[in-house]
Amino acid sequence: MTVAHVHPQQPAGVSTETYATVAVGRTASSGGNRRKRVRRNWSGWWFVGPFMLIFALVFLAPLVYAIYLSLFRETLIGGNSFVGLENYGMAMVDPKFWEAMLRVSIFLLVQVPIMLGLALFAALALDSARLRWVPFYRLSIFLPYAVPGVVAVMIWGYMYGSQFGLVADINRFFGADLPSPLAENFILLSIGNIVTWEFVGYNMLIFFSALKAVPQELYEAAEIDGAGTFRTIFSIKLPSIRGALIIATIFSVIGSFQLFNEPSILQTIAPNSITTYFTPNLYAFNLSFAGSQFNYAAAIAIVSGVITMVVAYLVQLGGEKKEAK
């Protein structure tokens, strides 16, 4: 038998001999032909290494640790035990957690559009070239963002006071009977007001800088075509800053789900209006630091993190879809 073994899948046009040689060679090399090994070059790691290390340490490690924690349950009596996904099962049917989620969702649906609407209005106004003292307005709208959140809440907490604060003064001066902003029914509204005040300037700045980047030629072209102010806004300005709008919305969505500072600080002056599970973050915080339920708190944190990610992703998807149209 001088004829080489014919492979059943021998490609047409390739002689049997050639095919056999190539096939044999391949088999040989995959069997460990050390001569042909390419030395791996590791020097690239020196460049990305520091980043990877810090990334792993600061971002991945806490996340992995939280997931690890969430699979256990440590009780005051009985110690630590592995419970698998039981904490997640508990979270799924925990009315307190879902009440908190519902609350921040309502907050998101009401507060974010108002805040972004105001920010957009301010940015367009500043960009309209019809205002004098633009830097002054820009600075004063942005100023609240520079006030530390804790201080901001203290200021507002004082103004909300219905016996000695600003609300009390208004009531006394006008003979009005405003309800207490710190009462249970109004507290979410009051928090929304604080958050709006704090972050309108920040979002305005994002929009304003995006508007500044719009090429001047577009405006000139629009003017030549006879577009009025509003036509320019809707046909040029808004489409041009769509990216900034989406980013700001995503930030605000995340911010809403992570609502913590404002209710947490207001709790000291209105403890009876803000429950320990007012927002998902506050709930996780109280679970771990007041109830020592670190494991369940970790599960809550991860579930709310996933929900936040999904919603933020949907927002991004929605924005992109519109862009594609």
């Binding site: 009780t75 004082y158 207490s180 709790q267 007041a290 109830g291």
Partner: protein, 442 residues
């Protein structure tokens, strides 16, 4: 080759992962790892050697006290770490215990938090160091508070027998010339004050610490702990007596909704809009900030039947942590502070817990300028003697006080049914206790 490398990495990963998991599990198991303490209980010998003791505190005066102690014990230096408030100290301590390291040597602990920290093995038993010999020096109620689950877990530092501090002028404006001695009289005064000035209230509705103390003073004992068995009854006779009474004031709109210690609360006190503080005697020396001399007076707590009855509200002891590597030295310092010279140091700030000081005529007759010369300590001392015995806090009182606002606090804020809210609070506490491995109400 490529596949080999991948496999090797995978194997390495698996080994590392398992290792990490094991370390984690081991760390999880060894919640309260004992420090490298020598184990000696000879406190005198320990204080003869050079030692640095870490001392966490929420008080501004601890550094001064530490400096003074260092004069008496030149070998001992202190590293005083001030945290913002008692809750911050507890949280930080619990985290350190959970982490297995980082706890201080000496730490102040509120009486109500002692069971919780004892259960978490955060505190050292001080009896082996000879602190049990000081029992007779302390009042029965404070000594009872620091003895938890058959261990002596702290040395009482101050105490808080309840007194009534009231705004005499505000009461008089409403036609009430004498301090109410019974709760019925208190109710009459309450209605009169709010009627005379619709912006004025006899008191604010209060927080968890106030509520539990008031239940205590009314003879209630809603929390009973026996090892791992807990009974919670927030509808027992004493509890209900108080909640019915307080609920009636709430329904009548006679209680201010301001949160204790808030800015508005301070304003209400200084502007004659808040008539009464029902608080621990430590507040006796703290009224200078709230008005001109003589505006306030101190009176005994009103009672249900005219017989003196009181409770502790606040107050704390000094403890040595289980992680301390200098337990003997730390316990030696607590001994120094238990009586004599050291005790005088401790008593400069706070209402005493030692019988000798409570009976000291000079201290008893000390006239307080803020009360127009009234020797107010006498009232606090009398209250100390009439504290109702047998009260217990839950081994998870911190959690209980935290979730108080979800049920009872909510009712206080919105004028809801207090008894219903108490039952709701109880349900939460029963569920939490059972989840945590206790046997609650079974």
């Amino acid at each position: 080759m490529e596949r080999n490398t991948t496999r090797r990495w995978a194997r390495l990963g698996a080994v590392l992962g398992t290792g990490a998991l094991l370390v984690g599990v081991l760390a999880g198991c060894s919640g309260a790892a004992p420090g490298a303490d020598s184990g000696s209980t000879d406190t005198d010998a320990a204080l003869k050697e050079d030692v640095t003791l870490t001392w966490w505190t929420w008080s501004d005066t601890t550094q001064e006290q530490a400096d003074a102690i260092s004069k008496a014990y030149p070998n001992v230096t202190f590293d005083v770490v001030k945290l913002e408030n008692p809750d911050a100290v507890v949280t930080k301590l619990q985290n350190a215990i959970k982490a297995g390291k980082g706890a201080p040597d000496i730490v102040p602990v509120e009486y109500q938090t002692l069971p919780q920290l004892t259960l978490g093995d955060a505190l050292a038993d001080l009896a082996p160091y000879g602190l049990d010999e000081y029992e007779d020096a302390f009042t029965a109620s404070t000594w009872n508070s620091v003895n938890v689950q058959d261990q002596l877990v702290a040395m009482p530092s101050d105490s808080g027998p309840m007194v009534m501090i009231y705004n005499k002028a505000l009461y008089e404006k409403a036609g009430i010339t004498e301090a109410p001695t019974t709760w019925d009289e208190f109710a009459v005064a309450s209605a009169a004050i709010h009627a005379a000035d619709p912006e004025a209230y006899i008191a604010n509705s209060g927080d968890a610490g106030f509520f539990t103390s008031m239940i205590w003073a009314s003879g209630g004992q809603p929390f009973k702990t026996d090892g791992e068995n807990i009974t919670i009854d927030l509808q027992d006779e004493g509890t209900k007596k108080f909640s019915d009474f307080w609920g009636a004031r709430l329904e009548a709109g006679e209680l201010s909704g301001l949160s204790t210690w808030s800015d508005e609360w301070t304003k209400a006190l200084t502007q004659d809009k808040l008539g009464t503080l029902l608080m621990g005697s430590w507040m006796i020396s703290g009224m200078d900030d709230y008005g001109p001399a003589g505006r306030f007076q101190v009176a005994p707590m009103p009672t249900w039947d005219g017989e003196p009855a009181s409770a502790e509200n606040g107050g704390s002891g000094l403890a040595v942590t289980s992680q301390s590597e200098n337990k003997a030295a730390a316990a030696g310092i607590l001994k120094y502070l238990a009586d004599g010279e050291g005790r005088a140091l401790l008593n400069q700030n706070g209402f005493p817990s030692t019988i000798a000081d409570l009976e000291n005529p000079e201290w008893l007759d000390h006239p307080y300028e803020s009360y127009g010369g009234q020797p107010a300590n006498q009232i606090g001392a009398a209250s100390s003697a009439s504290v109702i015995p047998g009260w217990q806090y839950l081994p998870y009182q911190g959690y209980a006080n935290n979730v108080f606002s979800d049920s009872v606090g909510k009712a206080l804020g919105s004028g809801g049914d207090l008894n219903e809210a108490l039952v709701e609070w109880q349900d939460t506490l029963v569920q939490f206790g059972n989840e945590q491995g206790f046997t609650v109400n079974k």
